[in-house]
Amino acid sequence: MKMTQGQFSFLPDLSDDDIRVQAQYAIDKGWAVSVEHTDDPHPRNTYWEMWGHPMFDNPDAAAVVFEVNECRKLYGGQYIRVIAFDASPGWESIRMAMIVNRPAVEPGFRLVRQEGEGRSVRYTIESYAMREPEGARYP
């Protein structure tokens, strides 16, 4: 099951050139672009591992593509995303986020039912990959 999060995730995977153009858009807007990776695909997992520092002073997006490829060398089997942070007052938040790398096999999510008090049932989802410990989730 293809995980969909952030921008462009219903489209086919982004090529390096697509990434460059999108990142350049963010840089031209003055946003700090950074690369992050994780092996926990839960939609509520907002804090991914940082790959290096956010790039505040690179005028050209080739540097972003370079870092994405460096990250792929080490974490090619995980999710990698590029995010753009807008530091301007009133925003101070992520303006763009796109998945640029995903594991070869994405097992998807299962539905978990929990019996509560009375006859209430709580529903949640859990990725099948999360049954394995960190680092062993995507072979």
Binding site: M55, D57, D60, A61, A62, F66, E67
Partner: protein, 314 residues
């Protein structure tokens, strides 16, 4: 073109107008700037003109589908200090930007300190940081030979060189590297790092300025700051240049700039001490002979240099 060659695909143009290309690209402006702002340096200007022509033709060929590879654009600038290497590098960045070979056209100037770390594992991130900053523009490595220290095989400079070479090869579309430094030391640097020599297509040598050119430069520097030399001061300046050249640490235009800064200092001091009444603009902006003559160069150079030369003579 013979008949058995494949016909170009239909969507490519069949001919180009180089003169139109030249006019559209804005290269002419950069070259005119170069001519106007830099005195002398005829061989350098000729080389840059040739390079611009080559790149323009190459671009036209690519448009016709005759060439697909990005040409190697890395360069080395060799010459003595103060011969305009950094200034020309700035112009080169503008030129490459106009021709579309670099996307942003900014110049990042670094030396060994910016590339090489101080402990194990520090160099690679530092070098990569600098390279990333330079992507889309031109990376200017001043005194590049300091990167390689032959006497210390565990020097971290070697690591920086390896990363640099790798990026110069793999990210040729993303950045252009210009290495600069003194001619003889650069030659030795290239001899011990053959990887660099083969990755650099354009070697440009910067000649020293002649005395006449330096005088011209000094007047240009002054007129940009609204100063002038009177006739006696101009004669003194010409003698100053000839005398300064023979002394240690002569750095061409940079020495001249420093000399003029000191002359302005002395002029200000003189005006302050002598002036009785109100001064007009001409008095405030004219350097006179005593301002130049007071230089220690006419007395044989700095005291430390004189002392060391005497010691050497004895």
């Amino acid at each position: 073109m013979t008949d058995d060659q494949p016909a170009p695909p239909a969507d490519l143009p069949t001919h180009v107008d180089l003169a139109q290309d030249f006019a559209d690209s804005g290269v002419a402006e950069v070259l005119a700037d170069l001519d106007r702002e830099l005195v002398g340096l005829a061989p350098v200007k000729a080389r840059i003109r040739e390079t611009a022509a080559l790149l323009l033709v190459d671009r036209a060929r690519r448009r016709l589908g005759l060439a697909t590879e990005t040409p190697t654009l890395h360069m080395s600038f060799t010459g003595n200090p103060g011969t305009g290497k950094t200034t020309v590098a700035l112009k080169m960045a503008a030129l490459l930007h106009r021709l579309g070979y670099v996307r942003k056209g900014h110049l990042v100037t670094v030396t060994r300190d910016d590339l090489v770390g101080q402990y194990i594992g520090h160099t690679a991130p530092k070098t990569k940081e600098v390279l990333k900053k330079a992507m889309g523009g031109v990376l200017f490595i001043d005194e590049a030979y300091y990167l390689y220290r032959a006497e210390n095989e565990r020097d971290y400079g070697q690591e920086a060189i390896e990363i640099l070479l790798q990026v110069m090869e793999n990210n040729r579309d993303d950045l252009v590297v210009i290495l600069a430094g003194y001619a003889d030391r650069m030659d030795r640097f290239f001899a011990s790092n053959p990887g660099f020599r083969s990755r650099i297509a354009h070697h440009i040598e910067f000649p020293d300025y002649s005395d006449g050119e330096l005088l011209h430069i000094s007047e240009g520097m002054l007129s940009r700051q609204n100063y002038t030399l009177d006739d006696a001061a101009r004669a003194a300046m010409a003698q100053y240049i000839a005398a300064r050249r023979g002394q240690p640490h002569f750095a061409n235009a940079r020495s001249i700039r420093n000399a003029l800064d000191r002359a302005r200092l002395r002029q200000a001091n003189r005006l302050f001490g002598e002036a009785k009444g109100p001064l007009d603009a001409a008095a405030l902006s004219t350097l006179t002979e005593p301002d130049i003559r007071a230089s220690r160069v006419f007395a044989g150079g700095l005291d430390v240099d004189r002392a060391s030369r005497q010691a050497a003579a004895e």
